[in-house]
């Protein structure tokens, strides 16, 4: 009996979520297949690549990133360059300066910057908080307010602060809410349930189901992504059908492979090449398991991952 290819698309689909406005707006999700299974059915929307910039600038980054932003002196100009980066679909402004254990910028100062960035670029914008749940609870509420009408993605609401962020970003000001949970399908689902019970529309939620760099417990990430997509598509679980966004650079730029200097590890070779490889490998692995968007930092990584997506589509 000869081999006959039978397409096996699922009946259920990932929800389609639009971010941004106008011609540059992007759509995440919408597919009825595992990632890049074009032989089952075309994915209506290719996975997207976001470029992460920090409100603290790029002083401490590797040479390739510094070179890319060159003589840019403020974050707004940096965002414009990021939006024009080859392969970039959206810009992610990370407000790490708000961290009370760090620079501790005020909520108003950060919100003002977010507004200035949003006004300066056409590309869709996502805002990342400072990872301090309490501060983010205030900060992202204010950011959602000043970005009204921009259809931005607010990263992220967690179990500890989903009420304030969900209510403001998702309900009052019409942004998209990132629902962040820690590498566990049940926690991811629970947070989606809580957000929708609060009144946020399911179509306004994207999930960040957690992340880890390759080699650092990545098996949990892979299995969480695989299981989430399997439940969303195979079992039509509508509380897991939100598209998935996975921040990569915030993890990979902190691991030993990316930060050890060449003096310490001469046999490992260029630190920058290591940082790029960690970033592209982790991002590619996440995309292969179902992330609908990844967030990267290095221009070479952004170009590589976006090329890979195009080739696989």
């Amino acid at each position: 009996m000869p081999f006959k290819l039978t397409p096996q698309p699922f009946k259920a689909a990932i929800k389609e979520v639009e971010v941004g406005c106008g011609a540059k707006a992007i759509k995440l999700g919408g597919e009825k297949t595992f990632p890049f299974y074009a032989f089952d059915a075309e994915m209506p929307n290719a996975p997207k690549v976001g470029v992460e910039i920090s409100d603290l600038g790029f002083e401490n980054e590797v040479a390739g990133i510094k070179d890319f932003y060159g003589d840019v002196t403020n974050v707004v100009e940096m965002a414009k360059k990021a939006a024009a980066m080859e392969g970039a679909d959206f810009v992610v402004l990370r407000l790490e300066g708000a961290d009370p254990n760090g620079v501790n910028k005020s909520v108003d100062e950060c919100a003002e910057l977010a507004k200035a960035v949003a006004d300066a670029i056409d590309a869709p914008l996502a805002i990342m908080g400072c990872k301090n749940d309490e501060k983010d609870g205030e900060l992202l509420v204010k950011v959602s307010e000043v970005l009204e009408g921009k259809n931005a993605m607010i990263l992220s609401a967690k179990e500890a602060n989903y009420k304030t962020i969900g209510a403001s970003a998702g309900m009052a000001y019409g942004q998209k809410v990132g629902a962040e949970s820690a590498v566990d399908i049940n926690l991811a689902k629970q947070l989606n349930v809580l957000l929708t019970q609060l009144g946020v529309k399911a179509e306004s939620v994207v999930m960040n189901c957690g992340t880890a760099a390759a080699g650092y417990g990545y098996e949990y990430v892979a299995s969480t992504l695989d299981r989430t997509k399997a439940a969303a598509l195979g079992q039509n679980d509508d509380m897991l059908q939100m598209p998935i966004i996975t921040p990569i650079s915030t993890e990979t730029f902190g691991v030993k492979e990316a930060i050890a200097s060449e003096d310490d590890m001469p046999e490992w070779g260029s630190q920058e090449t290591r940082a790029i490889d960690m970033e592209v490998v982790t991002a590619a692995a996440c995309l292969a398991s179902g992330s609908n968007a990844v967030i990267l930092r290095h221009p070479a990584s952004v170009a590589t991952v976006s090329t890979m997506i195009k080739e696989l589509m």
Binding site: F3, Y218, E219, S223, D277, T307, E311, L312
Partner: protein
Amino acid sequence: MALTGIQIFKLTPKKNCKECGSPTCMAFSMKVAQGAVTIDKCPHMSEEALAQLSEATAPPMKTITIGAGDEEHKLGGETVLFRHEKTLVSKNLYAVNLTAADDADAKLAAMTKVDYDRIGERMYVELVNVKYTGEGADAYAALVQKAAATGRTLVLECADADAAKAALAVCKDKGPVLNGANPSNYEAMSAIATEAGVALGVTADTLEALYDTVAALEKAGNKNLVLDVGTASIKDAFSKAVLIRRAALKDEDRTFGYPSIVNIGAIAAGKPELQAALAAVFTLKYGSILVMEDMSYAQALALYGLRQNIYTDPQKPMKVEPGIYPINGADENSVCVTTVDFALTYFVVSGELERSGVPCNLLISDAGGMSVLTAWAAGKLSAGTIAKFIEEHEIANKIKNRTLIIPGKVAVLKGEMEAKLPDWNIVVGTTEAVQLVKFMKDYK
């Protein structure tokens, strides 16, 4: 088709002799149906029943063994498409591509430089893919010999019968793969591979043609195969890799139940970063042998870390060896920090300690590979286990500093530890690893 327990039961002698280790024939049949035991555990099966059953209960994907001696590797043998469904068993292997146009010595020397240990696993390029480019049988055999001298197992990418014979003559004892069969030459190549006793790589432009070729090879008795997904395009290679594995495991079509070869170096030539990205994709989605143009340390660090994660058994946590791990150039006068041997905990904690820049000795005790709270709840992390570790590893002789920082989540152990380790100053650390940088800096 897989048989149910009842169908298997009908073929058993129904004597309930218990010689197979199960209390009844019915219980045994159920275990066979689940794949928990193999049918040959029953000594009383008739030949006829065995033949019928071994066909039906054979694994959906064959395990192909390549290499020899210490360099023996297993490919395939998977039973599930995703690791969370059970576990993945045969990690993908990496090959570096070598042709007559390369400076062979330089390339092989660069390849052998990547060789290190990560959580008890040796990380290196296991294979060399020696590609025939029409240089003639003698020249090819000489190149193959050079590659074989590295001790690595070879993949001979060669569809030329004479060159293949010459190459096998110099390396067949080392269990190479002869990757050279296609729909037009498979009979001749299969004869060469069978005579040398090596696995045969098969390729074809379409999946239909590949399927027919494999079926013909199987009919001729060759079931020692590896399927090359070809180099038409990245998209085509990915589709073939997924469809072959899905046909074998989900649709139980054993004709496609073989491991795969993906030549990433050929579909992303000259782009090392894209090759790394694709290698990650094929690690998750069904590549068995991944051929790269080169393997730099930078690629290896990321890719081998990923592979090690994906191919861990979900039922067995990854553990690091108990012992003293000096961080940031710590010496015997540096402060001690302790946590459990769960690999993820170790990596996160050691990473944060490194970021703090404070020299310290990380003491890892045997906690059964569990996380801090789980180990504590299970009695694997207690004042007693830490005290025992300190005694057995003679920490007191090796380290002069007498301050020990314990995980904040087990702050409750402080009192008992002070009782068990009277000359130590026990300090309660942070509950989360991410707080360690600040904690260590302040502590210093």
